[in-house]
C-alpha cells in the first residue's frame, strides 16, 4: 500500500486529500491531481467572489431572464431549496445581500430587493429564474458538495477493497473508511486545542466563528442579523453536502432566540437528550448534531 497526502488552497480554504491504495506513487499523484481538478471545477462554478463563475452569472441574470444551468448547479440549488422548505426558511442561500452589506462578501453591484427569500428562487429542470431581484451565496453548502464530488469521481476505485480516500475541505470532512475513526474537533474558545469524537457517519462538518476577522459570518435569514455564538456545532451525515448545510441549521436553530423554545442549548457534562424543536430538525433531515462549548463539553442536540 502506498499513500499520498496533498494540500491545495481551494474553495477559500485549505483542501487536503489523502489517498491510500495498492498503486504506484506516480499513479496516486495522478489520481490526486484529478481530484483537485474536480474540486477546482466546482470552485470555478460556485464561487461568489469570482465575477465569472456560473453562480455570479446566475446572480446577475436570473431576475431578468430564465438562465440555463449546469447539472452541478441543478443538484446544489435543488438541495438548498429542499432544506429551506424543510427548515421553514432557516437555511436560505438568498441571504447573500446581507453578507455583502456586512462586508463579508464582495460587492458585485447587483440590485437586490429589500425583502427576498428562497421562495423567490424558481428552479426548473435545467433552468433557474428569480421572481425578485436577489443574489445567492453557496458558502453554506458548496464545500461539502465539492468533497462529495471527489468521492463520486472515484466511485469505481472505492468499490475495490483497499482503496482509501479522505477529503478535508477546511473542516468539512469525508472518509471512505470512517467506522471507528476518531477525529478531533477544535475548541471554540481555543482553536489550538481540541476534543475528540468518534465518526458517526461518513461525513462531518463544523460551524463556528473563531477563525474569522469579523465577529461572525452567519446571518439569521429572518432578521438579517449576524449571529455571534461562541459555541461550535458539528453535524455527522451520510454525505458532506448534507453535513455542511446542516451545521448551519444546527448553529442557527440553537442561537435563534425566537425559534428555540428553551433558548441557548443547556451545556453540561450530563448528556442532554433531544429537545424539540432544536434536535429534531437536524436529525429529521438526516444529520446528527453535537455542540461543543469553551470547556470542551459536548452536548448532543
Amino acid at each position: 500500500m502506498n499513500s499520498i497526502s496533498r494540500c491545495q488552497p481551494l474553495l477559500g480554504t485549505y483542501v487536503e486529500i489523502t489517498l491510500k491504495a495498492d498503486l504506484s506513487e506516480d499513479n496516486l499523484l495522478k489520481l490526486s491531481t484529478a481530484a483537485f481538478n474536480e474540486i477546482e471545477r466546482v470552485h470555478n462554478l460556485m464561487s461568489f467572489h469570482d465575477p465569472d463563475s456560473e453562480l455570479s452569472r446566475i446572480n446577475r441574470l436570473a431576475y431578468q431572464q430564465t438562465v440555463s444551468i449546469s447539472a452541478d448547479m441543478q443538484t446544489i440549488f435543488a438541495k438548498a431549496l429542499d432544506l429551506s422548505n424543510q427548515s421553514a426558511g432557516l437555511f436560505d442561500i438568498s441571504i447573500a445581500s446581507h453578507l455583502v452589506q456586512l462586508g463579508i462578501l464582495p460587492d458585485h453591484h447587483i440590485r437586490v430587493a429589500p425583502s427576498v427569500s428562497w421562495r423567490n428562487i424558481k428552479l426548473e429542470a435545467k433552468t433557474i429564474r428569480f421572481d425578485k431581484p436577489l443574489i445567492c451565496d453557496l458558502g453554506g453548502i458548496a464545500k461539502g458538495y465539492a468533497v462529495d464530488q471527489v468521492f463520486k469521481l472515484f466511485a469505481e476505485q472505492l468499490a475495490t477493497a483497499g482503496f482509501q480516500l479522505t477529503v478535508n475541505a477546511g473542516g468539512d470532512l469525508r472518509l471512505s473508511h470512517w467506522q471507528n475513526v476518531t477525529i478531533a474537533i477544535r475548541n471554540p474558545a481555543n482553536a489550538s486545542t481540541a476534543t475528540t469524537l468518534v465518526m458517526q457517519a461518513p461525513a462531518v462538518a463544523t460551524s463556528a466563528n473563531y477563525f474569522l476577522d469579523t465577529a461572525s459570518d452567519m446571518v439569521d435569514p429572518a432578521s438579517g442579523e449576524l449571529i455571534t455564538s461562541k459555541l461550535s456545532y458539528s453535524v455527522f451525515a451520510a454525505d458532506c453536502m448534507l453535513a455542511d448545510a446542516l451545521t448551519k441549521l444546527a448553529f442557527l436553530n440553537n442561537n435563534r432566540p425566537t425559534c428555540s423554545s428553551a433558548g441557548q442549548p443547556a451545556l453540561s457534562s450530563v448528556l442532554k437528550p433531544a429537545r424539540a424543536p432544536d434536535a429534531t430538525l437536524v436529525s429529521a433531515l438526516g444529520g446528527q448534531a453535537f455542540c461543543i462549548d469553551a470547556n470542551n463539553i459536548i452536548s448532543c442536540l
Partner: protein
C-alpha cells in the same frame, strides 16, 4: 422523536461522548504533504532542475516589500530553473493562524503555473512574529513537532481562510520581476 430512534440516538451519542478526551492540537499541529521531489514531479513533470542561488539585497527586499505589502522573510529562497527555462521555488507563507511551506512553479514569463503546499503548521499568537521561533523550522522535519495523537489524523473545525496564499504569490512574482527575469 420515537422511543427506539431516541435510544439509538442516545447510544450513539454516548459512545461519542465517552471518546471526548481533551487533546492539544497545537501549539503546533503540523502536517507534511508532498516532498520537494514529489512537488517537482507534479508541477514540472519530465523536467530537469538546476539549483539557482540568489541572495536578495536589502534594497531588493525593501522594494519587494513596498510593492507587494508583504514581508520578505527569507533573502535566500530555494530556487531551481527547469530545462525549459521555467522556475521552481520553495518559500514560506505566514498567516494569522498558519505557517506553510509552498512550492511554486512559474513559467518563463513569470506567470504562475501552479503551486503545492508542502508543510502546514498551526501557529497561534506571538510566536509567529518572533524570528527565533520561525527559524527553528528552517530545514527541519516537522515530525518531532507533531503533538497531536498520531492516531488522529483529521480535524474538523471552523473554516480557515487561505487568503494569505495570495501574499506568497505576489511576493514570488515580484522576486521574479526584480531578480529572476534578469538571470
Amino acid at each position: 422523536m420515537k422511543r427506539r430512534q431516541f435510544n439509538q440516538h442516545l447510544a450513539l451519542s454516548l459512545s461519542a461522548l465517552l471518546s471526548g478526551m481533551l487533546l492539544p492540537v497545537g501549539q503546533l499541529q503540523a502536517k507534511n504533504y508532498l516532498t520537494i521531489a514529489q512537488a517537482k514531479k507534479v508541477l514540472w513533470p519530465e523536467e530537469k532542475f538546476t539549483p539557482v542561488a540568489i541572495n536578495l539585497t536589502a534594497a531588493q527586499m525593501k522594494s519587494i516589500r513596498n510593492r507587494t505589502r508583504t514581508r520578505v522573510l527569507n533573502p535566500t529562497p530555494q530556487i531551481w530553473r527547469t530545462s525549459q527555462g521555467g522556475w521552481f521555488i520553495v518559500d514560506q507563507v505566514i498567516g494569522k493562524h498558519e505557517n506553510i511551506d509552498i512550492a511554486y512553479a512559474l513559467h518563463t514569463n513569470g506567470e504562475v503555473k501552479g503551486l503545492e503546499i508542502l508543510t502546514y503548521r498551526e501557529s497561534y499568537g506571538y510566536e509567529v512574529a518572533n524570528p527565533k521561533w520561525r527559524a527553528q523550522f528552517h530545514g527541519k522535519s516537522v515530525d518531532q513537532l507533531l503533538k497531536l495523537d498520531q492516531q488522529i489524523k483529521n480535524i474538523s473545525g471552523a473554516t480557515l481562510s487561505c487568503r494569505h496564499i495570495t501574499d506568497g504569490i505576489n511576493r514570488l512574482t515580484q522576486i521574479w520581476s526584480e531578480v529572476l527575469r534578469h538571470l
